[in-house]
């Protein structure tokens, strides 16, 4: 049975870029282990040589012409939800410290 250790959980949280509180670390290792244990019932299904299903739309390769369409949006409108804007660009914290 899958059991998520503290280290496993911290690694996953780091990969997913989520800071967890001490309380969350404790709760999540137990809860997520339970959930993973439940879904392990799939191991008992006989899957023969069936192919995986990625999507169920019945569509393949939906194409469109590669053309620019003007939906009338102004950059200011698209930037109005950005936490920090400088010179009409998104400002982020420094990457290299």
């Amino acid at each position: 049975m899958a059991k998520l250790s503290r280290e496993d959980l911290l690694k996953l949280a780091q990969l997913a870029k989520i800071k967890l509180s001490e309380q969350e670390i404790e709760e999540f290792s137990a809860e997520i282990s339970d959930i993973l244990h439940y879904v392990e019932q799939l191991q008992s299904v006989n899957i023969d040589d069936l192919a995986p299903t990625n999507q169920v739309s019945g569509l393949t390769n939906v194409m469109r012409n590669d053309e620019v369409k003007d939906y009338g949006y102004k950059p200011e409108d698209l930037l109005k939800n950005v936490p920090k804007v400088k010179d009409n660009q998104i400002e982020a914290k420094r990457m290299i410290t």
Binding site: I35, Y38, L42, N81, P83, R94, T97
Partner: protein, 473 residues
């Protein structure tokens, strides 16, 4: 409680003929919302834009101009639909204050026919849940019993319709989020065939199962709303061709082949739910339906398939909330990495975090084959099983959920227990077929719905049969 609304088409007809004013309808809806505040079904109202739209419609009518076929009909959208001029939060702290620069296609199509969005309804944050208890803001109360949940994730929408705030509401259904709250609260909830309604402008959860649908008082009203929303959209490349119309749906049950999903009637099913569903099936039989028991031997695996595929897609879809481009951003971050970690750590609620981490786990290289790929293969198996079953019958019937509405707090401390609420609804999402929940009876004061399913793209046929069932329940 506010008084019952007329059927959608009758409201619109009276507006078109000048017997009713769109402005009055909007005021009535806003008053209904205000008078039912205690149920906490609504996150925000959109009075200003709703009043402006209503005035526009009334002016057009005065000027003899044509108005749409839903002219003046007020509605409520789940708060994961992007609506111009309305904050869209998906009930999450991380999207608080987000004012969308564009609007969802579903809203666009409804409003171009004259319908008016008056409010945004509560949900489990990002639609992750079955009770609205995962909303980052508050829990909606069941309209029939304030100590119980309305179901979820479209719990605010279901409660709003049952409380007669507006004649219809919009929801989204990724694993049962329209049908289960419809059953718990007591209204009709329709989940269309995957791809039938554009999801452009709706906050994405699990893209391979997300669909949009209506919650209404009657099957006919659900059909009208679907008819307006359905069809291809260049902004959502997963949309499929529609049937000609979804509104000419008069039929009866004689000779209709309906399969009972045997596996849903196991020991986990609540006695009252079993009684209500069996009594409904007896009525269908009396009305001439050919009822046959169908076994779907792997349907018990559907929930496991879902709780691998859904978090995998959630972990991918929710990566866009990075604290840089929109939504909450942790101001005191020391560098970009800290900004990501802290913005997401502080901004997401527990269930979103749980699902992102499960998704990250099942997609990680060491576990991909054992979990994600295997779930996709079992998904194929389920699709095959349903296809075989639909060679024997044209429709399938069963419960919507194993129990009536549960008490607030009853399942919230155990996430797996909460996931089990979806056990009878997820299969339709995994397979992509249409399904509907219609009210079938009660357990004390609590409503119980019955679920009907049909093959892919047979939405019109399903609505017709559901209407015939509704008439004799």
């Amino acid at each position: 409680m506010a008084s019952q609304w007329m059927p959608l088409m009758d409201i619109a007809k009276d507006v078109q003929e000048g017997k009713l004013k769109a402005s009055d309808l909007v005021e009535t809806a806003l008053k209904n919302i205000d008078e039912n505040r205690e149920y906490k079904a609504i996150i925000t109202t959109t009075e200003a834009r709703a009043r402006a739209r209503a005035a526009q419609i009334d002016d057009k009518i005065k000027g003899g101009e044509k108005v749409g076929r839903l002219a003046g009909v007020p509605f409520i959208a789940k708060d994961n639909f992007l609506v111009f001029g309305a904050e869209t939060t998906a009930a999450s702290n991380i999207l608080k204050g987000f004012n969308p620069p564009y609007q969802s296609t579903a809203i666009e199509r409804l409003e171009s026919e004259g319908a008016i969005c008056v409010a945004k309804a509560n949900l489990d944050a990002f639609a992750h849940g079955a009770s609205t208890e995962n909303s980052d803001f508050f829990t909606t109360l069941n309209p029939n019993d304030k100590e119980r949940v309305p179901g979820g994730s479209s719990g605010g929408s279901a409660a709003a319709v049952v409380l007669n705030m507006t004649p219809f509401a919009l929801g989204t259904d990724t694993g049962g989020s329209i049908r289960q709250p419809a059953s718990f609260s007591g209204c009709v909830g329709y989940k269309p065939t995957y791809g039938l309604v554009s999801r452009s402008g709706v906050v994405a959860m699990a893209s391979s199962t997300d669909v949009i649908g209506p919650l209404t008082k009657t099957v006919s009203d659900a059909a009208v709303v679907l008819d307006v929303m359905a069809g291809k959209d260049e902004l959502d490349s997963t949309t499929i061709d529609r049937q000609e119309n979804y509104t000419e749906i008069d039929t009866d049950l004689s000779g209709k082949k309906i399969g009972i999903i045997k596996e849903y009637f196991n020991e986990g099913l609540n006695d009252d739910v079993k009684k209500v569903v069996n009594a409904a099936i007896d009525k269908f039989k009396d009305a001439g339906a050919e009822i046959k028991e169908i076994s779907l031997s792997d349907i018990g695996m559907a929930l496991s398939v879902y709780y691998i595929i859904c978090p995998a897609e959630v972990s991918s879809n929710l990566s866009r909330y990075d604290g840089q481009r929109f939504g909450y951003s942790y101001e005191a971050a020391t560098d970009l990495e800290d900004s990501y970690l802290s913005s997401r750590g502080n901004g997401f609620g527990k269930e979103a975090k749980r699902r992102i981490i499960i998704g990250t786990y099942v997609l990680s290289s060491g576990y991909y084959d054992a979990y994600y790929k295997r779930a996709q293969i079992v998904r194929t198996k389920l699709i095959n099983e349903f296809e075989a079953a639909f060679k024997e019958v044209d429709y399938m019937v069963g419960p919507v959920a194993p129990t009536p509405a549960f008490k607030i707090g009853e399942n919230s401390s155990n996430p797996l227990q909460m996931y089990l609420c979806d056990i009878m609804t997820v299969a339709a999402n995994i397979v992509g077929i249409p399904a509907i929940s219609i009210p079938a009876g009660v357990s004390g004061n609590l409503p119980i719905g019955i679920q009907l399913m049909a093959p892919k793209k047979a939405d019109k046929q399903l609505l017709a049969v559901a209407k015939a069932c509704e008439a004799i329940l």
